[in-house]
């Protein structure tokens, strides 16, 4: 039984890594049409990609779009989460209901809603997409913030700081924020990486008028396999960096609460 489960774990590992390894290899290979392994290695595709201004622009747009949405979420959603978790636990069940709803409705449904409602208004569609992005990261923001606040017993910490003479704002900035910062930062990175890979909403609602990395990739899929694999390689590297930073921060956050 034990052996069977370990074999299964190894199989899962192979299944999950194989497509990534193959794509990365393809991004660096000269010719790979007839042979089992690539005929030669080259950085030609990667250089070509970074000299392509359309890719650079698409990359910038992706960063702007996901970064902007995450920033708005930090400015307007996170404070609300703080206030509700710390001072209005009775409102929390409404908040949780919203979180579940946002989580349950996939992008393709939201896309229909957005197009139906906003195509009749003068609001640019890209703004509507950013708005939905801000909402769609709510589950991750909520989970991360609430867990960190619970771990450090946020309410007691605030009360203690105020008892010692700090104002609410001071207590928040000097005591609470530094302790929840790692957990919050993990949520921010997670939200960013999810939005960076988002394709459904941007493609259906805005389309090629706002070419992000995902849309650019979609177009290259049918025209140049090598370039497409170079894009996917860059995407994987970026996600890898974000994942490793998140893992390190989570570890740090755990260490802080157990210490």
């Amino acid at each position: 039984m034990k052996k069977l489960t370990i074999v299964m774990l190894i199989l899962i590992g192979i299944y999950l890594t194989l497509p990534i390894v193959a794509t990365a290899l393809y991004a660096f290979s000269t010719e790979w049409n007839k042979t089992v392994l690539p005929e030669g290695l080259t950085v030609e595709w990667l250089t070509a990609l970074f000299q392509d201004s359309r890719f650079i622009e698409a990359f910038g747009r992706s960063i702007l779009l996901s970064g902007g949405a995450v920033l708005i979420s930090i400015l307007f959603i996170v404070p609300a989460i703080f206030v509700i978790v710390l001072y209005y636990p009775s409102l929390e069940k409404w908040f949780q209901a919203s979180v579940v709803m946002v989580y349950a409705f996939p992008g393709v449904i939201l896309a229909v809603g957005l197009i139906r409602f906003y195509s009749g208004t003068s609001l640019p569609m890209i703004i509507a997409v950013i708005g939905v992005y801000v909402i769609s990261v709510l589950p991750y923001m909520y989970q991360g913030t609430r867990n960190s606040l619970r771990n450090i017993q946020g309410r007691q910490l605030m009360d203690a700081a105020e008892l010692l003479g700090a104002t609410k704002v001071e207590a928040f900035r000097r005591v609470l924020l530094p302790s929840v910062y790692p957990g919050l930062f993990v949520s921010v990175l997670l939200s960013f990486s999810i939005l960076f890979g988002e394709f459904v909403l941007i493609n259906l609602v805005v389309g090629s008028r706002f070419e992000t990395v995902q849309i650019y990739l979609m177009e290259k899929l049918s025209t140049s396999g090598h370039l497409a694999s170079a894009i996917v390689f860059v995407y994987i590297v970026l996600m890898g960096i974000l994942t490793i930073v998140m893992a390190a921060l989570t570890k740090k956050a755990k260490g802080m609460t157990s210490a």
Binding site: G13, N33, A80, A104, F105, P106, I109, F117, G197, T243
Partner: protein, 279 residues
């Protein structure tokens, strides 16, 4: 100086506004528009959905694909995560990081990676040809989509099941062993009943995750493969034949299936909890 209540109000209002205008209102508007035509209230879009065999086929394909991919990923991960319990914490953490990384690998990039492996001139396809094997497998079909769906379900299943397994305390196993229970007995009588609600919950999330998925199937087959989500996309995107009301009706039905799934899940979890405590 503002009083506390007013300040709190100011903090919650922006959130409420965003939620209203970018989530609730569009969805409600979609719901309303699925029931209306130029003359007023109508059920014709729903009638169309429920009598159009092509759309129904799309729903059926989506249901089967989501169910099968969720089940396979769940069983594989149940076994795999169990194996993780025998490793040190350091190794387990590394495995989780890997799983986290691959969980971001979905949609268009994932579809492309599978084209590299199994597409018409993919790595495996060529290797098979070289060896003279004809598996008559096509990535651009149901079985190809199933492989891709299983791929993006696996990391999610691992991440959801991991904490559930580790909710089982070492002490319980030891106590059971002291009382003479074998490992098999422990899992049958104690372990599985405890993790059962969590496993059901995981299955529901996996199912919903696949049911709403759009990007990988679209990247692979355009609008050719018939799934409910793909039908929605095709109906709102078609420049000449766009039928947004029909798309709204399909989207509403998709949402209803999601909600029913969630409620069923909740009910099942409550029921098993009650059964457990009633013993």
């Amino acid at each position: 100086m503002m009083n506390g209540n007013k300040r709190v109000f100011l903090i919650i209002v922006p959130f409420a506004l965003l939620m209203t205008f970018f989530f609730l209102v569009p969805l409600i508007y979609m719901l309303v528009s699925s029931f209306s035509n130029s003359e007023g209230i109508t059920f014709e879009h729903y009638q169309e959905v429920l009598t159009n065999s092509y759309i129904l086929q799309g729903f059926k394909n989506s249901l089967v694909l989501s169910f099968v991919s969720a089940l396979i990923a769940l069983i594989a991960s149940l076994l795999g995560v169990y194996a993780m319990t025998s490793f040190s914490e350091k190794v387990r953490e590394r495995l989780l990081v890997l799983s986290n990384l691959t969980s971001n690998f979905s949609g268009v990039p994932l579809a492309f990676a599978f084209i590299v492996l199994l597409g018409n001139s993919g790595l495996f396809t060529l290797a098979m040809e070289k060896f003279g094997w004809d598996l008559s497998f096509s990535l651009y079909s149901w079985s190809g989509l199933l492989l891709i769906y299983i791929y993006f379900q696996l990391p999610l299943a691992v991440m959801l099941l991991y904490p559930i397994y580790f909710g089982i305390q070492m002490q319980w196993k030891e106590a059971a062993a002291l009382l003479g229970a074998s490992t098999f007995m422990f899992w049958k009588k104690i372990g599985l009943p405890i993790i059962f609600p969590g496993v059901i919950g995981t299955f529901t999330i996996l199912f919903a995750n696949a049911f709403g998925a759009y990007a990988s199937a679209y990247a692979l087959t355009g609008s050719n493969y018939n799934l409910a989500a793909i039908r929605i996309g095709a109906l709102i995107q078609g420049d000449i034949f766009a039928q947004p009301e029909l798309a709204s009706a399909i989207a509403v039905l998709l949402g209803v299936i999601m909600i029913v799934g969630m409620l069923l899940n909740e009910w099942l979890i409550k029921k098993t909890r009650k059964d457990l405590s009633g013993r």
